[in-house]
Amino acid sequence: MSWRKVKNSVMGLVVAGSAVLLILVLAVILWHIFSSGARYLSWDFFTKPPAPFGEEGGGVVNSIIGTFLITIVAAAIGTPFGIFAGIYVSEHRGQRFADIVRLCADALQGIPSIVIGIFGYTFIVARFRSYSAVAASISLAFMFVPTTARVTEEVLNLVPSGLKEAAYALGARQSSVIWNISIKTAATGITSGLLTSMSRIAGETAPLLFTAFGSRYIEWNMARPMSALPLQIYIYASSPYPSLQQQAWSAAFVLVLLILVLQYVSRKLISRVLRVK
């Protein structure tokens, strides 16, 4: 009897102790990342492009714009595919092809981003003989679609079947039911899913390595090479100059902020869905 009590106390201490320690470590890591980045934020940082070699200062406005454009375009490309695939799987739940589609979405989600980058290069950049932001967006779309499809499917499955049956009973066609009932009901959840997927692709670097090429200049044209925050961070982190390394931290801070905002809005929407249920 007492052996078990001893074990209980010991294990309790071990588990609690190590967990608390670990949580503290994680908190310190997070705090360090935030503080390193926040320390050197300046107006210049947000508004100027990088300075040429040897000159101090400069900023990452070109990368901020690039991240916005590339992410939004990737989401634009991926949303129709993702949502409609999600609709398809939800409507045909239980059928073998739908299961295959779901399986493929899962598989696609697990493909390492570097492989996606290679595909982006061989399929688009090499074929069209030019690095471009569009190539980057298309590559990111490959990562955007499966997560969107899964979220859409799951949210649609939550729509009470009673609603749909009532609509059918009233003589509505399938497409009408899907659009007016399922989607409109699930809209908040789907939007939340879209935002979450966007927050994920915004931070991806590997697909950009072989497609976006990077650029010192502010670029609005999607058919040209473009910079982006993750890419800029990677390049600056590998440089030996403390000023550039500092900019890497600050750029990381901006990127995390962007991702957090997307996730925050997404979470707010989900909680609204859950509250209504």
């Binding site: 078990r4 209980n8 294990m11 309790g12 588990v15 967990a19 949580i23 994680l26 890591i29 997070l30 990342i33 993702g82 409609f84 695939a85 609709i87 398809y88 409507e91 092809f97 739908a98 589609v101 399986l103 493929c104 979405a105 598989a107 696609l108 697990g110 493909i111 390492p112 981003s113 570097i114 492989v115 290679i118 399929f123 490959f142 679609v145 499809a149 066609r173 399938q174 497409s175 009408s176 927050s199 915004a202 931070g203 670097t205 590997a206 390595l209 072989f210 993750p230 961070i233 990677y234 982190a237 590998s238 390394q245 890497a248 931290w249 990381a252 990127l255 995390v256 991702i259 996730q263």
Partner: protein, 308 residues
Amino acid sequence: MTAQLSPKDRQERVRERAFTTAGLIAAVTLVATIAIFLVDLTISSRGSRSTFGWSFLWHTDWNPVTEEFGALPMIVGTLITGFGSLLLATPLALGIAIFLADYAHRRIVEPVKYLIGLLGGLPSVIFGLWGLFVLVPLISKFEVWFGHAVGSETLVTAGTTGVGLLASIVLLALMILPYSASLILDSLLVVPNELREGSLALGATKWDTIQNVELPYIRRSTVGAVVLSLGRALGETMAVTMVIGNGMKMPGSLFDPANTLASAIANQFLEATSPLYVSSLIELALILFCISIIINIAARAILRKRTQ
């Protein structure tokens, strides 16, 4: 009444058709994408596949000068970092999850969950940044100390820069920890309280309950979480690329620099000038692709069985 469709009916029919077609197209595209990836990678790597055949998988030489390419150093690097980080992270994830589910004050569970989720959502390149400037110097200090402690000059030399397998394992462990921990925590929270109470009522201690009731209950989802984390660890690119040190040779110890399949590609793809070099790198991608698909499907299958 027969035939003539009102314009409204026709419109609805068209929309109906459009909707079904759109759904089908999207679904087929998803499936086709996987197929296209596989085909594209296979075709693009035919140069190295025909030159080296299956021996590509166990050749240890990766030499761009002599055009001899073997994937073994990268495969070994991938497996060591993948399983190493899993070994390190899983008990830690279990510990955190058990702590939060059974020991912690109810009110700190949500904020801690949020904190952990925040960390887990950080982009890989930011982990790499932190790893390069914070973790690597620490690891270097440890490795040099360890080398002196065991009296091994080679270890001390290898540890001078800090980059290498050990740094990658620790960094990867930190990256997969949050996801693992939250999966396990979620499944622990679902354990019916009656089971817990029943066990305690029978005179079991808290730890007895955890060990004999809760853990077995979540065994399947723990395995699923572990496999998913392995999947993520195996495919992780940027953070590993930044701290693994780019070794082209088989690593001799954990302190040595190495490469994973992903980091080798990230580092060399844009500069490979000969067709054989390029196709060898693409073959690495093909290997990585297959590994990740298998692991991912296995993980989801395990996790889904739990709910049936």
